[in-house]
């Protein structure tokens, strides 16, 4: 009974960090998660579902392991995030490791980040990047690092990108797009 209670507490703590982020710890650029401190809580086979105001699923996040630290930072391993809303859903991102900095509501997926999704017109695409943020507060995925996108009729490289969870739009900066179009 106590184990189930603890698990509930851990899931609650992690959800609170993901959804509310109401921490008082100073924003410390080098989170304890990154410094190898001992975690306060650890979770295995973490599964989280983010819903919108109407209860519709928006984002599903799973991680093989999650450590949660005193300064409010967290480290996740073997992560998969799935976008579940919008015309271009589902999209998915995978990464071996993720970090939530202190006092932030964003999860930084670290290299190699790979993804599957669709252009807004439906064409399937593959994405690869060295880092992608999942920003729960603004409901966006973005990266300030180079990204490459491949699909059958077009491929792009960009210095950074940003898209809402529902992938209704896609912003690519310093972009080079190659269209293999046939008239």
């Amino acid at each position: 009974m106590a184990a189930r209670l603890l698990l509930g507490l851990l899931a609650l703590a992690l959800s609170a960090w993901l959804l509310v982020g109401d921490f008082h710890a100073p924003v410390d650029p080098v989170a304890e998660a990154a410094q190898g401190f001992a975690p306060r809580y650890s979770l295995d086979q973490l599964k989280l579902l983010r819903t919108d105001e109407t209860g519709q699923p928006v984002l599903a996040l799973s991680a093989a392991h999650a450590d949660y630290f005193d300064d409010g930072s967290a480290e996740l391993k073997t992560i998969e995030a799935r976008g579940l809303s919008g015309l271009a859903a589902p999209w998915q991102l995978q990464s071996p490791r993720g970090l939530v900095p202190v006092g932030e509501q964003r999860l930084q997926l670290q290299a190699p980040v790979t993804g599957l999704g669709r252009w807004p017109d439906g064409e399937p695409l593959k994405l690869s990047a060295s880092q992608v943020w999942i920003d729960d507060q603004h409901k966006r995925i973005e990266s300030a690092q180079p990204v490459a996108i491949e699909s059958e009729s077009r491929s792009a490289t960009a210095r950074s990108f940003s898209a809402p969870f529902n992938a209704a739009s896609l912003q690519l900066n310093s972009v080079e797009m190659r269209y293999a179009l046939r008239d």
Binding site: G122, E123, S153, L170, L172, S174, V175, E176, M177, L181
Partner: protein, 161 residues
């Protein structure tokens, strides 16, 4: 398929590209390059109403927007054009220049409110618009200089620079 026809891969570079409501909008130092065409401008919208395998339509604006159609053979002269708006439809390879449109081929020059240029045939049509003014400057060779016979004119009597 005519070698001049710029089908096949095109590359667009720009400061930013954003997909919005079915249109890919590129802005900031936009350059589109295909095998024979080069378009430059401030903003480029690429539409593919029929999906990602269908012909596309490009609307380019700038101050000015410009086009360069390279020559494929020694006999051909490159064509340069400028206007505030350039629309290019890949299905028929038509380019529509509007807003202070100006097209240059060698020393020949056409100015008008609207100039139409077909890439494969390299044929030009000019329209003065409301202002009713089309100005054509044709570089006539010096007296006695060898004049190469004009190409057979198969289609409508478009002005032949």
């Amino acid at each position: 398929q005519s070698p001049v026809r710029p089908s096949g891969p095109i590359t667009i570079t720009a400061k930013s590209g954003e997909w919005q409501d079915g249109v890919m909008i590129y802005s900031g130092d936009v350059l589109m390059k295909s095998k024979t065409l080069e378009l430059r401008g401030a903003r480029l919208e690429l539409r593919q109403p029929g999906g990602n395998r269908a012909p596309y339509e490009i609307t380019l604006t700038g101050e000015p927007a410009s086009l360069l159609h390279a020559s494929e053979t020694p006999a051909e002269l490159p064509v340069e054009a400028r206007a505030s708006r350039i629309v290019y439809r890949s299905a028929n390879q038509d380019v529509e220049l509007s807003g202070s449109a100006r097209l240059l081929r060698g020393k020949d020059e056409i100015n008008g409110e609207k100039v139409r240029y077909n890439v494969p045939s390299r044929r030009v049509q000019a329209d003065g618009g409301d202002a009713g003014q089309v100005r054509i400057v044709i570089d006539v060779p010096e007296e006695g200089a060898a004049i190469s016979p004009p190409k057979p004119d198969k289609s409508s009597p478009a002005p032949q620079p």
